[in-house]
């Protein structure tokens, strides 16, 4: 199967180093629909080890540890599919201060 691509614009912010948040673009090769969680795992592994996100998952879309904003809407990254050949924006979910990148210091957890 010919490789397709997802263009992901991802929110990056390290309060220790960056004056303000910025966005970084990643072109990720995929050959099928992938979940946002899978996409982040692939970016961290193959494109940019410095990307921070929460890796915990419960395998049933219930724990909400992996929530992020996808195109402005809060989603569970493990249970939300992205199609190949699309452009997306991933940002932290809110609900607390940003520790770094997509990792939130959730107020209620």
């Amino acid at each position: 199967m010919a490789k397709a691509m997802i263009k992901a614009k991802i929110y990056r912010y390290d309060p220790d180093k960056d004056k303000k948040p910025y966005y970084k673009d990643y072109k990720v090769d995929v050959d099928r629909n992938v979940t946002v969680y899978e996409l982040l795992t692939q970016i961290h592994r193959d494109y940019d080890g410095t990307l921070a996100y929460r890796t915990f998952k419960c395998y049933k879309g219930m724990c909400t540890t992996c929530i992020v904003k996808l195109n402005g809407k809060v989603v569970k990254s493990c249970a939300t599919m992205v199609e190949p050949n699309t452009k997306i924006i991933i940002e932290p979910a809110g609900g607390g201060k940003v520790i770094r990148d997509l990792v939130i210091d959730f107020n209620k957890m």
């Binding site: 309060p15 899978e38 410095t50 890796t55 998952k57 909400t64 540890t65 520790i99 770094r100």
Partner: protein, 568 residues
């Protein structure tokens, strides 16, 4: 490197069911406690992944009045193939009901009959239906326990805190060393007692149904601190976890739901022929059957078997109702994350790494072999024996977790504070130093972790044999050298690569002694199946495998199992 310091009576490591329950027990004794969690309590460990089933012998207060703690005890000892230590099984069997009533008091919702008795489901290996039913499953239980922890003023919770070494002064464990992931600070906690409740290390395997964070840090830390570790060869697989498609790989679908009372479906080979007979076998037997069908070439395209309810006598609507009632979140998740309707589509499933029956060797008080160190829940080792019953894992988090907390607190009162040995602290800091210092050839930790996972999947599957395991062990030994080449970016806040580096480091120890333990036991029993030693050998091997650190190397030996009530 600056080190922040804290003092407390008892430090608890972990954030799942056992850790939370241990901390509550300490607080109820009026002592101060710090609970440190690699993630967030309530969303940490394996407890959130669990389903409804937590077993307790309620008898007349449950579904079948004939059930008793004696019967639970007997079922657990038999399922464990007579190598679970009965002094600890007693704690589980005889305090289970009390601990579940505690949970109910904290706010966990259990399904009840109209007259107030506990609704209970039958699971393989239970003489009478014994699995109490948590309406919102393990996630709900985790959230409620975390809330209960937060109600106690004398428990401080350090969230996003990665403990990576036990601190020792002479022969005693005197606390832990860890990293605050929020700001990158290194923190030493000096405690009178230390409770390890970090769960299993299921995610040492690539195909696992547990969170990727479950890398067995606690077992490795205890081993490195000189504690006896027991029965690591009995890593339990669960027979029917999704193997395809990848977005839902590792999600548990319960074969226990195939009975007439529920979905009345079948586990089949690729030709649609049922392979698991009813009444359903206990887990180790089910896995052997599934594994052999795959080995014989009767497996599905992606190397599994089918979980098929499409031919159920009950019809699609009734089957959907079963999934919607019993495992609603899993059912919904498969639709959202893979577009699969379990009531309509046969699903490819296979045995995946699920639970560690072994772990830190403890006694009936939860004490390890090292002064000051305690263990509870899955990271403790010698009570499941060679196999675990359905509904035992959650039950053990509460029974052995509470016990470890109670005894750690009682001993803390007697023991007093032994100060940190600064030389010991310094040498433990090396774990962090080495990944941040420049070097010529460098490796990224994610690839070392992948290599470990691949090696475990390949050489220590449900069936294993000498030459494969020797090969696997030599790969792990060579990966130890690779660990020294890790270089991670100098980032203070939530440095994921530094976390992976520490995990990879600890995982090499756990992987090494898992291979070693499985090589040591030259028989087949429970979840340990040696192709080269296919028979159970009660004469020589109805005993524990103990591994402990002697100098720089693991030392393996046998130890008698403890029988208090039932002799084999």
């Amino acid at each position: 490197m600056d080190v922040s310091r804290f003092n407390t009576d008892v430090v608890v490591v972990g954030g799942g069911g056992a850790a939370c329950r241990a901390a509550i027990a300490v607080a109820e004794k009026g002592l101060d406690c710090i609970l440190v969690d690699k993630g967030r309590p309530g969303r940490s460990g394996a407890t959130p992944c669990a389903l409804w089933s937590i077993q307790a012998p309620f008898g007349p207060r449950g579904r079948d009045e004939r059930d008793t703690p004696d019967q639970f005890f007997e079922d657990m000892v038999k399922a464990g193939r007579f190598i679970g230590d009965q002094n600890i099984v007693e704690i589980v069997a005889y305090t289970a009901c009390e601990r579940i009533l505690d949970m109910e008091r904290y706010g966990v919702h259990f399904k009840k009959y109209d007259d107030g008795r506990f609704f209970q489901t039958p699971m393989p290996g239970q003489t009478y239906p014994r699995s109490c039913f948590m309406i919102e499953n393990g996630q709900h239980m985790s959230t409620v326990l975390a809330k209960e922890v937060s109600r106690h003023k004398n428990i401080k919770v350090f969230k996003d805190f990665f403990a990576f070494a036990l601190l020792k002064n002479g022969k005693s464990v005197v606390g832990i060393l860890g990293m605050d992931l929020i700001n990158g600070e290194i923190v030493a906690i000096n405690a009178k007692s230390t409770v390890m409740a970090t769960g299993g290390y299921t995610s040492l395997w690539g195909f696992s149904d547990n969170p990727p964070t479950l890398t067995g840090d606690g077992v490795a830390m205890a081993y490195r601190a000189g504690a006896d570790i027991v029965d690591l060869e009995f890593n339990q697989y669960y027979g029917t976890d999704v193997i395809w498609p990848p977005s839902v790989r590792g999600t548990v679908v319960l074969y226990e739901l195939m009975i007439d009372e529920f979905a009345d479906g079948e586990i089949t080979d690729k030709f649609g022929k049922p392979i698991i007979n009813k009444p359903l076998p206990v887990r180790d037997e089910a896995i052997k059957t599934i594994f052999n069908v795959i080995k014989e070439g009767r497996g599905t395209p992606h190397g599994g078997v089918y979980f098929d309810t499409t031919k159920s006598s009950k019809g699609e609507a009734a089957v959907r109702e079963v999934f919607d009632t019993m495992t609603p979140k899993h059912y919904r998740f498969l639709i959202d994350a893979a577009g699969i309707d379990l009531a309509k589509t046969p699903l490819e499933v296979a045995p995946a790494s699920h639970y560690q029956c072994g772990g830190i060797y403890i006694n009936e008080r939860g004490q390890s072999s090292v002064d000051g160190l305690y263990g509870g829940g899955e990271c403790a080792g010698n009570f499941q024996g060679a196999n675990r019953l359905a509904g035992s894992a959650l039950c053990d988090t509460q029974t052995t977790g509470a016990q470890a907390g109670i005894c750690a607190a009682a001993d803390a009162k007697m023991r007093g504070t032994i100060p940190i040995d600064e030389n010991n602290l310094k040498s433990n800091l090396d774990i962090i130093h080495k990944y941040l210092s420049k070097k010529e050839k460098t490796v990224r930790p994610v690839f070392i972790k992948e290599e470990i996972l691949k090696t475990m999947d390949k050489y220590i599957s449900p069936y294993r044999e000498e030459s494969g395991m020797r090969k696997g062990l030599s790969i792990i030994e060579s990966l130890k050298n690779e660990v020294d080449k890790i270089l991670v970016p100098d980032i203070k806040r939530y440095n994921l690569e530094l976390m992976e580096a520490i995990e990879a480091d600890l995982m090499t120890s756990t992987a090494e002694i898992t291979f070693g333990s499985a090589l040591f036991r030259k028989e087949s029993r429970g979840h340990h199946n040696r192709i080269d030693y296919p028979e159970t050998d009660d004469k020589n091997w109805r005993c524990h495998t103990i591994v402990s650190l002697k100098g720089e190397k693991p030392d393996y030996s046998k130890r008698e199992a403890i029988y208090t009530r039932i002799k084999p």
